[in-house]
């Protein structure tokens, strides 16, 4: 591309001012939406932002509740293609803010209406599991308070837990996981680096919302 060319034709992009008028927000808000990745944009050689019209269409569709996945990005083979409506409850017990945020983003992109609750340590997580009786429990292993494996063992002694499905979300190595093996037999384990590809389809499968996906298991 030469310096005078633009990535898109005039019909494919809008100025921040045009987008702001279209959706009824300030120009600054549009700039922030681009920075957050909600809209796709680029800059002219003079430094002015241009917004790809397709990304605005997707954003508007999302706001209308008709789907918001960025279809320009490659999607995992087993992933959900559009957000699936559900009223199921999922409890995430995870102390890492990095992964609390990532799970929240990932699941809100994949499931519409999912009731995602969160606990940051094992003790609170155990109490919330009893109170919420979630459809699926996603639990990390290294947790403050009670570790994930002890928490799982404790929950298994409660009758309500029979109807709760379980996913262990961890980045421990196989060697590090060995000491927790007693609690992981038959449990689906998702390794954090693979969670973008594996978690949504596995959760969808457990919630009865998708066809079977590959389910990594520690058994």
């Amino acid at each position: 591309m030469t310096s005078g060319e633009t990535p898109f034709s005039d019909a494919e992009y809008l100025t921040t001012y045009q987008v702001a008028n279209l959706i009824g927000v300030t120009v600054r808000s549009v700039q922030l939406m681009v920075n957050r990745g909600e809209l796709r944009g680029w800059r002219t050689p003079g430094g002015h932002r241009r917004i790809h019209k397709d990304s605005l269409d997707r954003w508007m569709a999302f706001r209308r509740g008709t789907g918001g996945i960025d279809r320009s990005a490659p999607t995992p083979v087993a992933s959900l293609q559009t957000p699936v409506r559900t009223s199921k409850t999922v409890l995430l017990i995870e102390d890492s803010v990095y992964f609390q945020n990532l799970v929240t983003s990932l699941l809100s992109d994949s499931f519409d209406g999912l009731n995602l609750q969160m606990a940051s340590d094992g003790v609170v997580g155990l109490a919330m599991a009893g109170q919420l009786q979630p459809d699926v429990l996603i639990v990390d292993i290294l947790l403050p308070g009670i570790d994930g494996a002890t928490l799982i063992t404790s929950l298994r002694s409660h009758a309500f837990f029979a109807r709760t499905q379980l996913i262990v979300l961890t980045s421990l190595t196989a060697q590090q996981l060995e000491q927790y093996r007693f609690a992981l037999k038959g449990v689906a384990v998702v390794h954090k680096p693979q969670m973008v590809a594996e978690l949504p389809p596995l959760l969808g499968h457990m919630l009865g919302l998708t066809t079977a996906a590959a389910s990594p298991s520690a058994s």
Binding site: E38, A73, T75, P76, Y98, L102, S171, V196
Partner: protein, 108 residues
């Protein structure tokens, strides 16, 4: 680190861990950059208090985040910190920490 190398690492991580979902990667990275200084304080607090469990957990979380950002060299340092704390070798952990702290600072 050169800009070109950093850009390459980002593209690899984007493809490998985020399946090309740039918005998700960017949101994750922004969250990490906000959280790293907070976790750094936790590690320092753990080292001061001799709390190996806290140091191990936080180092583990930092390592996992760095791995997904494509920061392999720094993730290795975080792993050293995690393993030192796991084996209650806090003097060793205290040696690894400044290297990681400096690396985290350089990301922001």
């Amino acid at each position: 680190m050169s800009d070109a190398l950093e850009a390459t690492q980002k593209e690899i991580a984007l493809a490998k861990f985020f399946h090309g979902n740039r918005a998700l990667y960017d949101a994750f990275r922004a969250g990490c950059l906000t959280q790293f200084p907070l976790d750094a304080r936790m590690v320092e607090q753990g080292l001061r208090a001799g709390d190996a469990g806290l140091v191990r957990r936080v180092a583990h979380n930092i390592k996992s985040a760095l791995t997904m950002l494509g920061q392999d060299a720094l993730a290795t340092v975080a792993l050293q910190l995690e393993l030192a704390a796991q084996h209650n070798l806090l003097a060793e952990a205290a040696t690894a920490w400044p290297v990681l702290a400096e690396g985290l600072d350089s990301l922001s």
